[in-house]
C-alpha cells in the first residue's frame, strides 16, 4: 500500500483511503441496499396480493368473528362479536397470564434463590437438582406436561378433590369461592386506602425522627397494625358487607365461584415454575455479588442481621438483580404465546390463529400480533428502566 503515494492514486482510491469519506460511502451504500430491498419486498407483496385477489385492509376487524372463546374473564364475549373484540379478549388473556405468572414466578424464584444460599446441604442440593432439571427442559414440554397431568390424572368434577368443602380441584379446572361485594364495601375500601396513606405518612415521620434523634420505631409492625386494624374495625362496624359465591356441582361441571380453566392453570403453573428457576439463579448471584466486607462492616456498626439484610445487602443486590430480572419477565410474557399449544385463547390463538384462518388475512393479523408484543415489550422495559434508575447508586 505504501508503494504508491496517496497523491498519485485515482480519485476513487483517494476517497476510499480517507476514513471519513469511506464511512459516508459505506453508509450511503447500506441505505441504498436496504431501501432497494424494502421496495422490492413491497412490490412483491402488492403483486402477490393482487394475483390472488386479496387487498390489504383492516376492515375485517369490524366483521363478526363467528367463533367461540372459552375463557374470557373480563369481556362478555359471544361469537356474534367482532374480530376486534376477539383480539381484545386475546390481549387481556395474554396480560392476565403474564401478570399472574410474573407474580408467582417472583415469589417462587426468590424463595428458591434463598434456599439455594442456605447452608443446609440437603435443602441446597434438592433445590439445585430441581432447578437444573427444570431449566434444561423446553418450556413447551413443561406446559404440555402440566396440562396433561391436569387433564388426564385429576378426577372428573363428580369425584373432584374437595378442599374443605369450598374449593375443588378437578380435570375441568380449579374452583374457589369468589367474593361478592355488598353495599358498604366501598366505604371499607376507602378506609383501607386512607389507612395506607396514614401508614406511609407515619413511615416518613418515623424516618425523620430517626435521622434527627436516632430513635427507631418498629415501622413494619405499627404500619401493619394501622392498616389491618382500621380496615377490620370498618369492616365489622358496617356489618361485614361481604359474602362468598361458592362453587357448586351442577350437571357435569361446577357453577359459580371463581373458576380457573385447566388451560389457564397449566400455562400459569408451568410458566411460573420455569421462569422461577431462572429468577432463583439471578437472585442467588445478585446476593452473592455483594461483597462480604459490606456485611462485616454492618455488623461492626452494630446492625442486627435482619437490619443488615434490609439496609445493606438487599439495596446493593437489587441493583444487580433488576436488569436480568426484567428480561426474565419479558421472556415469561413472550413465552405465554405458547398458550396456543394447549388451547388457551391468548392473542396468538385468537387473532393470529382462528381469525387468520377464517378471514385469510395473514399480513394484517400477523402485523397486529407482532405490534401488540412489541408494545408490551417496550412498556415493560420502559417501566423497568425507570425503576432501575430509581434504585441506582446515588453518587455524589
Amino acid at each position: 500500500m505504501a508503494a504508491v503515494p496517496i497523491e498519485d492514486r485515482g480519485l476513487l482510491a483517494r476517497l476510499w483511503g480517507n476514513q471519513e469519506t469511506r464511512s459516508v460511502i459505506v453508509q450511503i451504500a447500506t441505505m441504498a441496499i436496504v431501501f432497494a430491498l424494502l421496495a422490492l419486498v413491497l412490490r412483491n407483496v402488492a403483486i402477490n396480493l393482487e394475483a390472488i385477489g386479496k387487498e390489504f385492509s383492516f376492515d375485517f376487524l369490524t366483521a363478526p368473528a363467528a367463533y367461540d372463546i372459552t375463557f374470557s374473564p373480563f369481556i362478555d364475549y359471544t361469537s356474534r362479536d367482532t374480530h376486534f373484540t376477539a383480539a381484545a379478549v386475546g390481549i387481556l388473556n395474554t396480560l392476565l397470564v403474564a401478570v399472574c405468572g410474573i407474580a408467582a414466578a417472583s415469589v417462587l424464584g426468590v424463595t428458591m434463590g434463598i434456599l439455594r444460599l442456605s447452608r443446609n446441604w440437603l435443602v441446597n442440593r434438592i433445590v439445585y437438582v430441581f432447578l437444573e432439571f427444570t431449566r434444561n427442559v423446553p418450556v413447551l414440554l413443561h406446559i404440555l406436561l402440566v396440562h396433561g397431568i391436569v387433564v388426564t390424572t385429576l378426577p372428573p368434577p363428580r369425584r373432584a378433590i374437595d378442599l374443605g368443602g369450598t374449593a375443588f380441584v378437578s380435570n375441568r379446572g380449579f374452583f374457589a369461592p369468589s367474593p361478592v361485594f355488598e353495599e358498604g364495601s366501598g366505604i371499607v375500601a376507602a378506609v383501607f386506602v386512607i389507612a395506607v396513606v396514614a401508614a406511609l405518612a407515619f413511615r416518613r415521620w418515623a424516618k425523620r425522627v430517626q435521622v434527627e434523634t436516632g430513635k427507631i420505631y418498629s415501622v413494619f409492625w405499627i404500619c401493619t397494625a394501622i392498616i389491618g386494624g382500621a380496615t377490620a374495625v370498618a369492616f365489622l362496624a358496617l356489618g361485614a358487607p361481604l359474602s362468598w359465591d361458592l362453587p357448586a356441582l351442577k350437571g357435569f361441571n361446577f357453577q359459580g365461584g371463581l373458576a380457573l380453566r385447566p388451560e389457564f392453570l397449566a400455562l400459569w403453573l408451568a410458566l411460573s415454575y420455569y421462569t422461577a428457576c431462572f429468577i432463583a439463579e439471578i437472585v442467588r448471584a445478585g446476593i452473592l455479588a455483594v461483597s462480604h466486607g459490606q456485611t462485616e462492616a454492618a455488623y461492626a456498626l452494630g446492625l442486627r442481621p435482619n437490619r443488615n439484610l434490609q439496609l445493606v445487602v438487599l439495596p446493593q443486590a437489587l441493583r444487580i438483580i433488576v436488569p436480568p430480572l426484567v428480561s426474565q419477565y419479558l421472556n415469561l410474557t413472550k413465552n405465554s404465546s405458547l398458550a396456543i399449544a394447549i388451547g388457551y385463547m391468548d392473542i396468538v390463538a385468537t387473532i393470529g390463529g382462528i381469525s387468520l384462518m377464517q378471514t385469510g388475512k395473514e399480513m394484517e393479523t400477523m402485523l397486529i400480533v407482532l405490534g401488540v408484543y412489541l408494545v408490551f415489550s417496550l412498556l415493560i422495559s420502559a417501566f423497568m428502566n425507570w425503576f432501575n434508575r430509581s434504585i441506582r447508586y446515588k453518587e455524589r
Binding site: 459505506v26 443446609n120 427442559v137 423446553p138 413447551l140 397431568i149 405458547l338 396468538v348 399480513m363 417496550l378
Partner: protein, 379 residues
C-alpha cells in the same frame, strides 16, 4: 492444667498433638456443620428427608421397578400390572423409538441420517477439543460439514431425494439446533459490531433489527415464516418450510447473541482498541486480534445460555406442524391403541433435552475456567 503437687508428665512444649474432637471431624462433624447447625436447620433437614422419602421411592417404583418394557398395546401393558396405571409403560417408547429418532424418513435411506450423525460428531470434536493434533486442518472439514450433511439428508446428486416434510424426531431437533447455533454466532457478532459502530446508519439499522426480534416471541416469527413469507418473495417462487424455519430461528438467536456480545464488547477496556489503533492496526484487524477475543471470552456464559435457549426453542416448530420429538410424541398419544401414556412420552423427551442442554452448560463452565487468565482477580 495440672493441679498443685501433681508432677508434670511432659516438659512444656513436648506434649504430642491430640486428635481433634470427634464431633468436629469426619461424617459427624460434616453433618453437624451442614445439616444440624441450628434448630431451624434441623427442621429444614427433616423436611428435606421427608420430601425425598415421599418422592423418590414412588418415582423409582413407577419408572423402574414396576415398569413394563414389552407389550403390544396400552391395554396389554396395564394388564400386566397389579393395578392398572401404577407404573410406566416403556414398551410404548421402545416400539416407537425409530419414529422418535428419524421421524418419517424413509426406512431404507436411514443410513444417511446415521452417517450424518457420525460426521457431526467428527465435526464437533475439533471445535470443542483444542488439543487435537492437526486441529487447524480439521476446520476445513468443519466448514464443509453443513453442506455435506445437507446433501446427505436432502439427497440429489446421486442420492434419492427426500422431502423435508419427512424429517422429524430428534434428527429434526439436531438439524435446527446445529444450523441455528453455527450460523447465529457470526451473524450475532456482526450485528453487535454494527450496533457499537460509529456509523449512525449501520447503528440504527442494527438497533431496529435487534430490538424488533427481541420484542416479539419466536412463535409469532414462526407463524410469519409459515404464513406470510411467501408474499415477500417474487411471484411464483417459494421455498421449503424447513428452510424458512431455519432462517427464522437463526435470525432470532442472532439478535440475542448480538446483545450478549455487545455486553462483552463493553467489558473490554477502551484502552485496548486505542492501543491497537496506535500500533497502526486497521479496524478489522484490531477487532479480530485484540477486541473480539477478549469480548467473546467475557460473553461465553451468555452465548452458551443463548444456544441452550435456541436448542430448547426448537420444540416450538411443532406449533406450525413440524414433527419434532414433541410433535411425534403428541401424534403418538393420539393413537387410540396407546393413548393415555403422556407421562412416559414427556419424561423421555425431557431426559433427551436435559442431557443435551446440561452437557452444554457444563462445557461452558469448563471453557470459562480454562480461559480465565486471572484478569478479574487482578482488578
Amino acid at each position: 492444667m495440672t493441679g498443685p503437687g501433681a508432677p508434670a508428665p511432659y516438659a512444656p512444649g513436648t506434649h504430642p498433638d491430640l486428635p481433634p474432637p470427634v464431633r468436629t471431624t469426619g461424617v459427624v462433624g460434616w453433618a453437624r456443620q451442614n445439616l444440624f447447625s441450628s434448630p431451624f436447620n434441623v427442621v429444614l433437614t427433616l423436611l428435606g428427608v421427608w420430601f425425598l422419602a415421599s418422592v423418590i421411592p414412588p418415582m423409582a417404583e413407577w419408572a423402574l421397578v414396576k415398569s413394563i418394557w414389552t407389550a403390544e398395546s396400552r391395554a396389554e401393558c396395564w394388564g400386566k400390572m397389579a393395578v392398572p396405571e401404577e407404573a410406566a409403560c416403556w414398551a410404548f417408547i421402545k416400539g416407537r423409538l425409530s419414529l422418535f429418532v428419524y421421524g418419517f424418513y424413509p426406512v431404507e435411506e436411514r443410513w444417511r441420517v446415521d452417517l450424518s450423525f457420525v460426521l457431526l460428531v467428527f465435526a464437533i470434536v475439533p471445535v470443542l477439543y483444542d488439543r487435537l493434533p492437526g486441529r487447524r486442518h480439521w476446520f476445513w472439514y468443519v466448514a464443509a460439514f453443513p453442506f455435506l450433511a445437507g446433501w446427505l439428508l436432502v439427497g440429489g446428486f446421486g442420492l434419492a431425494p427426500v422431502e423435508t416434510d419427512q424429517f422429524g424426531g430428534f434428527m429434526l431437533t439436531l438439524i435446527i439446533g446445529v444450523t441455528g447455533i453455527s450460523f447465529s454466532l457470526p451473524i450475532g457478532i456482526a450485528l453487535a459490531l454494527g450496533r457499537t459502530s460509529s456509523m449512525p446508519v449501520l447503528r440504527i439499522l442494527c438497533v431496529l433489527f435487534i430490538e424488533f426480534i427481541r420484542g416479539v416471541p419466536l412463535i409469532a416469527l414462526l407463524f410469519v415464516a409459515s404464513t406470510m413469507l411467501n408474499y415477500f418473495l417474487p411471484p411464483g417462487t417459494s421455498f421449503d418450510l424447513l428452510m424458512r424455519v431455519l432462517i427464522m430461528v437463526t435470525l432470532f438467536a442472532s439478535a440475542y447473541i448480538a446483545e450478549v456480545v455487545r455486553g462483552g464488547l463493553q467489558g473490554v477496556p477502551k484502552g485496548q482498541a486505542e492501543a491497537a489503533d496506535s500500533l497502526g492496526l486497521s479496524y478489522w484487524k484490531a477487532q479480530r486480534l485484540i477486541v473480539l477475543p477478549q469480548a467473546l471470552k467475557i460473553s461465553i456464559p451468555g452465548i452458551v445460555n443463548t444456544f441452550i435457549g435456541l436448542y430448547k426453542d426448537t420444540t416450538l416448530v411443532l406449533i406450525i406442524g413440524m414433527l419434532d420429538p414433541l410433535g411425534i410424541g403428541r401424534a403418538s398419544l393420539a393413537d387410540a391403541v396407546w393413548a393415555g401414556l403422556a407421562r412416559e412420552v414427556y419424561l423421555f423427551i425431557a431426559v433427551f433435552f436435559f442431557v443435551c442442554c446440561f452437557g452444554m452448560s457444563r462445557y461452558s463452565l469448563y471453557l470459562e475456567r480454562k480461559l480465565d487468565t486471572g484478569r478479574e482477580s487482578e482488578k
